[in-house]
Symmetry: C2
Subunit: 79 residues, 2 copies
């Protein structure tokens, strides 16, 4: 059985390559990793907020939010 992990980001050019490395480092036999670009998929912002995401990039795994570095606040993404 795989758990779901969602990696939210906003396309930050400095970070995106590193963060995709990070997301891709998860054990894909145990985690199904979805990468969501909130700048392009703005309809997912509400879902991210409800999951507890305060800034991007962030990884939500089994209901827990891990904020990674500090890229942009969700307020900035909403613009």
């Amino acid at each position: 059985m795989t758990a779901k992990a969602v990696f939210y980001h906003a396309g930050c050019p400095v970070c995106v390559a590193a963060e995709q490395q990070f997301a891709s480092a998860l054990d894909q036999q145990r985690y199904q990793v979805e990468v969501v670009h909130l700048g392009e998929q703005r309809d997912r912002i509400g879902e991210a907020e409800r999951a507890g995401v305060k800034s991007v990039p962030a990884m939500v795994m089994e209901g827990q939010v891990f904020h990674i570095n500090f890229g942009a606040s969700l307020a900035d993404v909403k613009g």
Copy 2:
């Protein structure tokens, strides 16, 4: 071949369980994960600083530092 990933933390009681989940979620066929408690292994603080760690918890993967949430600054760990 496995790459090395080092997870630095300082025993923050709120976070340690979650972060160990995060560290253990990495693909262990690709990453050899070492968990370092800087409060107990103070001789590793210099190494963490040289790797670019500014706060804990942090994961260093292939020379890149990912700061996760914000627990404690290294200055606090040094006390």
